[in-house]
Protein backbone atom coordinates (compact mmCIF):
# COMPACT_ATOMS: atom_id res chain seq x y z
CA UNK A 1 0.00 0.00 0.00
CA UNK A 2 1.58 3.23 -1.08
CA UNK A 3 1.94 6.02 1.38
CA UNK A 4 0.70 8.51 -1.24
CA UNK A 5 -2.86 7.38 -0.72
CA UNK A 6 -2.74 8.34 2.91
CA UNK A 7 -1.35 11.71 1.99
CA UNK A 8 -4.01 12.32 -0.60
CA UNK A 9 -6.64 11.37 1.96
CA UNK A 10 -5.05 13.79 4.37
CA UNK A 11 -5.13 16.55 1.77
CA UNK A 12 -8.78 15.85 1.09
CA UNK A 13 -9.65 15.99 4.77
CA UNK A 14 -7.70 19.19 5.16
CA UNK A 15 -9.47 20.82 2.24
CA UNK A 16 -12.84 19.68 3.59
CA UNK A 17 -12.05 21.20 6.96
CA UNK A 18 -10.97 24.41 5.31
CA UNK A 19 -14.18 24.64 3.36
CA UNK A 20 -16.04 24.26 6.63
CA UNK A 21 -14.07 27.08 8.24
CA UNK A 22 -14.81 29.36 5.32
CA UNK A 23 -18.45 28.51 4.82
CA UNK A 24 -19.93 27.87 8.23
CA UNK A 25 -20.72 30.61 10.69
CA UNK A 26 -21.47 28.82 13.92
CA UNK A 27 -18.34 28.97 16.08
CA UNK A 28 -18.87 25.44 17.35
CA UNK A 29 -18.87 24.09 13.83
CA UNK A 30 -15.87 26.19 12.91
CA UNK A 31 -14.00 24.66 15.82
CA UNK A 32 -15.05 21.23 14.63
CA UNK A 33 -13.68 21.99 11.20
CA UNK A 34 -10.44 23.10 12.75
CA UNK A 35 -10.32 19.71 14.45
CA UNK A 36 -10.76 18.13 11.05
CA UNK A 37 -7.81 20.06 9.70
CA UNK A 38 -5.69 19.14 12.68
CA UNK A 39 -6.52 15.48 12.35
CA UNK A 40 -5.66 15.67 8.65
CA UNK A 41 -2.29 17.08 9.62
CA UNK A 42 -1.85 14.30 12.14
CA UNK A 43 -2.64 11.75 9.49
CA UNK A 44 0.01 13.20 7.18
CA UNK A 45 2.55 13.17 9.98
CA UNK A 46 1.81 9.54 10.75
CA UNK A 47 2.02 8.60 7.12
CA UNK A 48 5.45 10.16 6.83
CA UNK A 49 6.47 8.57 10.07
CA UNK A 50 5.46 5.18 8.72
CA UNK A 51 7.21 5.84 5.43
CA UNK A 52 10.48 6.84 7.00
CA UNK A 53 10.31 4.24 9.76
CA UNK A 54 10.92 7.03 12.23
CA UNK A 55 8.65 7.51 15.20
CA UNK A 56 9.35 11.21 15.73
CA UNK A 57 6.22 11.90 13.74
CA UNK A 58 4.14 10.04 16.28
CA UNK A 59 5.40 12.26 19.04
CA UNK A 60 4.50 15.28 16.94
CA UNK A 61 1.00 13.94 16.55
CA UNK A 62 0.71 13.46 20.27
CA UNK A 63 1.73 17.05 20.83
CA UNK A 64 -0.77 18.11 18.18
CA UNK A 65 -3.46 16.25 20.12
CA UNK A 66 -2.54 18.16 23.25
CA UNK A 67 -2.55 21.47 21.48
CA UNK A 68 -5.88 20.65 19.90
CA UNK A 69 -7.30 19.83 23.30
CA UNK A 70 -6.12 23.19 24.62
CA UNK A 71 -7.57 24.99 21.65
CA UNK A 72 -10.90 23.27 22.16
CA UNK A 73 -10.99 24.11 25.82
CA UNK A 74 -10.39 27.78 25.19
CA UNK A 75 -12.59 27.92 22.11
CA UNK A 76 -15.52 26.29 23.81
CA UNK A 77 -14.98 28.51 26.82
CA UNK A 78 -15.41 31.44 24.47
CA UNK A 79 -18.55 29.94 22.99
CA UNK A 80 -20.05 29.46 26.42
CA UNK A 81 -19.12 33.00 27.40
CA UNK A 82 -20.76 34.29 24.23
CA UNK A 83 -23.87 32.32 24.94
CA UNK A 84 -24.04 33.60 28.51
CA UNK A 85 -23.94 37.17 27.29
CA UNK A 86 -26.69 36.44 24.84
CA UNK A 87 -24.53 37.22 21.87
CA UNK A 88 -25.48 35.68 18.56
CA UNK A 89 -23.55 32.52 17.86
CA UNK A 90 -22.40 33.74 14.51
CA UNK A 91 -18.83 34.71 13.81
CA UNK A 92 -19.93 37.36 11.34
CA UNK A 93 -22.03 39.12 13.94
CA UNK A 94 -19.37 39.39 16.58
CA UNK A 95 -16.60 40.79 14.46
CA UNK A 96 -16.22 43.86 16.65
CA UNK A 97 -13.95 41.87 18.94
CA UNK A 98 -15.31 43.32 22.13
CA UNK A 99 -17.54 41.86 24.77
Amino acid sequence: MDIEWYLVLSALLFATGFIGVMVRRNPVVILLCLELMLSAGALALLAFSRMLGNQDGQVFVLIVLVVAACEVVVGLGLVVAMYRRRLPLDVDEIKELKG
Binding site: E4, L9, F18, G20, G53, L65, A69, V80, A81, G99
Partner: protein, 180 residues
Amino acid sequence: MEQIAFFVGAIGALGAAFAVVIVKNPFYSVLALVIHLVFLAGIFLLLMAQFLAAALIVVYAGAVMVLYVFVAAYVGGIEEPKWDSSPELRIVGPILAVALFIAISIAVLGSGLSALGTPGPDDVPSGFGTPEAVGHLMMEDFLIAFEAASLLLLIAAVAAIVLAGRRREDRKKLPGGEGA
Protein backbone atom coordinates in the same frame (compact mmCIF):
# COMPACT_ATOMS: atom_id res chain seq x y z
CA MET B 1 -6.76 -6.87 2.65
CA GLU B 2 -4.96 -3.69 3.53
CA GLN B 3 -6.40 -1.91 0.53
CA ILE B 4 -9.90 -2.86 1.50
CA ALA B 5 -9.36 -1.74 5.07
CA PHE B 6 -7.88 1.53 3.90
CA PHE B 7 -10.67 2.33 1.52
CA VAL B 8 -13.34 1.46 4.03
CA GLY B 9 -11.61 3.70 6.53
CA ALA B 10 -10.99 6.45 4.02
CA ILE B 11 -14.55 6.51 2.75
CA GLY B 12 -15.90 6.49 6.27
CA ALA B 13 -13.60 9.25 7.45
CA LEU B 14 -14.23 11.39 4.41
CA GLY B 15 -17.96 10.88 4.48
CA ALA B 16 -18.08 11.82 8.13
CA ALA B 17 -15.92 14.86 7.41
CA PHE B 18 -18.29 16.01 4.70
CA ALA B 19 -21.15 15.46 7.08
CA VAL B 20 -19.45 17.70 9.65
CA VAL B 21 -19.35 20.51 7.15
CA ILE B 22 -22.74 20.01 5.54
CA VAL B 23 -25.09 19.10 8.38
CA LYS B 24 -27.10 22.04 9.64
CA ASN B 25 -27.47 21.14 13.29
CA PRO B 26 -24.22 21.55 15.24
CA PHE B 27 -25.09 18.58 17.40
CA TYR B 28 -25.06 16.31 14.39
CA SER B 29 -21.82 17.87 13.26
CA VAL B 30 -20.29 16.83 16.55
CA LEU B 31 -21.55 13.29 16.16
CA ALA B 32 -20.26 13.17 12.61
CA LEU B 33 -16.86 14.21 13.84
CA VAL B 34 -16.92 11.38 16.40
CA ILE B 35 -17.58 8.92 13.63
CA HIS B 36 -14.83 10.51 11.60
CA LEU B 37 -12.44 10.08 14.48
CA VAL B 38 -13.29 6.42 14.92
CA PHE B 39 -12.56 5.77 11.27
CA LEU B 40 -9.43 7.84 11.50
CA ALA B 41 -8.27 5.73 14.43
CA GLY B 42 -8.65 2.72 12.21
CA ILE B 43 -6.46 4.34 9.58
CA PHE B 44 -3.94 5.16 12.27
CA LEU B 45 -3.85 1.46 13.08
CA LEU B 46 -3.09 0.70 9.45
CA LEU B 47 -0.14 3.06 9.77
CA MET B 48 1.03 1.06 12.76
CA ALA B 49 0.39 3.80 15.25
CA GLN B 50 -1.59 1.78 17.75
CA PHE B 51 -0.77 3.98 20.70
CA LEU B 52 -1.89 7.04 18.85
CA ALA B 53 -5.03 5.32 17.69
CA ALA B 54 -5.90 4.57 21.29
CA ALA B 55 -4.90 8.07 22.35
CA LEU B 56 -7.02 9.56 19.61
CA ILE B 57 -10.06 7.68 20.85
CA VAL B 58 -9.40 8.31 24.52
CA VAL B 59 -8.48 11.95 24.21
CA TYR B 60 -10.68 13.04 21.34
CA ALA B 61 -13.71 10.82 21.44
CA GLY B 62 -13.53 10.35 25.20
CA ALA B 63 -12.81 13.86 26.37
CA VAL B 64 -12.71 16.54 23.72
CA MET B 65 -15.83 15.48 21.89
CA VAL B 66 -17.67 15.09 25.15
CA LEU B 67 -16.98 18.75 25.75
CA TYR B 68 -18.35 19.51 22.33
CA VAL B 69 -21.43 17.51 23.05
CA PHE B 70 -21.91 19.43 26.25
CA VAL B 71 -21.55 22.77 24.61
CA ALA B 72 -23.61 21.88 21.60
CA ALA B 73 -26.35 20.64 23.88
CA TYR B 74 -25.98 23.67 26.13
CA VAL B 75 -26.20 26.34 23.46
CA GLY B 76 -28.87 24.34 21.69
CA GLY B 77 -29.13 23.23 18.13
CA ILE B 78 -29.29 26.67 16.62
CA GLU B 79 -29.38 26.49 12.88
CA GLU B 80 -27.65 29.18 10.95
CA PRO B 81 -29.84 31.93 9.58
CA LYS B 82 -30.36 31.82 5.88
CA TRP B 83 -29.12 35.35 5.44
CA ASP B 84 -25.40 35.37 4.75
CA SER B 85 -23.36 38.54 5.09
CA SER B 86 -21.00 37.46 2.35
CA PRO B 87 -22.61 34.88 0.11
CA GLU B 88 -19.70 34.96 -2.32
CA LEU B 89 -17.71 32.98 0.26
CA ARG B 90 -19.95 30.01 -0.38
CA ILE B 91 -18.54 29.77 -3.85
CA VAL B 92 -15.07 31.16 -3.43
CA GLY B 93 -14.26 29.05 -0.37
CA PRO B 94 -14.81 25.62 -1.90
CA ILE B 95 -13.06 26.64 -5.11
CA LEU B 96 -10.00 27.74 -3.20
CA ALA B 97 -10.04 24.62 -1.07
CA VAL B 98 -10.23 22.42 -4.12
CA ALA B 99 -7.31 24.35 -5.59
CA LEU B 100 -5.38 23.69 -2.41
CA PHE B 101 -6.20 20.00 -2.60
CA ILE B 102 -5.03 19.85 -6.19
CA ALA B 103 -1.82 21.64 -5.35
CA ILE B 104 -1.05 19.26 -2.50
CA SER B 105 -1.93 16.24 -4.59
CA ILE B 106 0.37 17.36 -7.35
CA ALA B 107 3.10 17.79 -4.81
CA VAL B 108 2.46 14.38 -3.25
CA LEU B 109 1.90 12.34 -6.36
CA GLY B 110 4.21 14.26 -8.64
CA SER B 111 7.68 15.43 -7.98
CA GLY B 112 7.86 15.68 -4.21
CA LEU B 113 7.83 12.22 -2.76
CA SER B 114 9.59 10.22 -5.42
CA ALA B 115 12.76 11.94 -4.41
CA LEU B 116 12.40 10.68 -0.86
CA GLY B 117 11.91 7.09 -1.81
CA THR B 118 9.50 4.85 0.00
CA PRO B 119 10.95 2.21 2.26
CA GLY B 120 8.54 -0.66 2.57
CA PRO B 121 6.83 -1.84 5.69
CA ASP B 122 9.66 -4.27 6.32
CA ASP B 123 11.98 -1.46 7.33
CA VAL B 124 9.96 -0.62 10.38
CA PRO B 125 11.79 -1.26 13.65
CA SER B 126 10.18 -3.69 16.04
CA GLY B 127 7.95 -2.12 18.63
CA PHE B 128 7.00 0.61 16.17
CA GLY B 129 4.18 2.72 17.50
CA THR B 130 3.89 0.97 20.85
CA PRO B 131 3.40 3.11 23.94
CA GLU B 132 6.86 2.05 25.02
CA ALA B 133 8.59 3.39 21.92
CA VAL B 134 6.64 6.62 21.84
CA GLY B 135 7.17 7.07 25.57
CA HIS B 136 10.91 6.66 25.21
CA LEU B 137 11.01 9.24 22.45
CA MET B 138 8.89 11.62 24.41
CA MET B 139 10.82 11.39 27.66
CA GLU B 140 14.21 11.44 26.05
CA ASP B 141 14.30 13.38 22.81
CA PHE B 142 11.22 15.55 23.16
CA LEU B 143 11.15 16.19 26.87
CA ILE B 144 10.99 19.94 26.53
CA ALA B 145 8.17 19.76 24.02
CA PHE B 146 6.37 17.40 26.37
CA GLU B 147 6.78 19.73 29.33
CA ALA B 148 5.76 22.70 27.25
CA ALA B 149 2.66 20.86 26.12
CA SER B 150 1.72 20.01 29.69
CA LEU B 151 2.20 23.63 30.70
CA LEU B 152 0.02 24.64 27.78
CA LEU B 153 -2.69 22.30 28.98
CA LEU B 154 -2.58 23.85 32.42
CA ILE B 155 -2.82 27.34 31.01
CA ALA B 156 -5.69 26.32 28.77
CA ALA B 157 -7.54 24.83 31.72
CA VAL B 158 -7.16 28.06 33.67
CA ALA B 159 -8.13 30.10 30.65
CA ALA B 160 -11.28 28.07 30.11
CA ILE B 161 -12.33 28.62 33.71
CA VAL B 162 -11.67 32.33 33.42
CA LEU B 163 -13.60 32.57 30.15
CA ALA B 164 -16.60 30.47 30.91
CA GLY B 165 -16.76 30.68 34.68
CA ARG B 166 -19.69 32.48 36.20
CA ARG B 167 -18.69 35.79 37.62
CA ARG B 168 -20.59 36.93 40.64
CA GLU B 169 -19.34 40.48 40.47
CA ASP B 170 -20.59 40.67 36.92
CA ARG B 171 -24.02 41.56 38.05
CA LYS B 172 -23.19 43.29 41.29
CA LYS B 173 -20.24 45.55 40.78
CA LEU B 174 -19.57 46.53 37.25
CA PRO B 175 -22.25 48.71 35.76
CA GLY B 176 -20.93 48.02 32.27
CA GLY B 177 -21.41 44.37 33.01
CA GLU B 178 -18.24 43.18 31.36
CA GLY B 179 -15.65 42.30 33.92
CA ALA B 180 -12.15 41.59 32.79
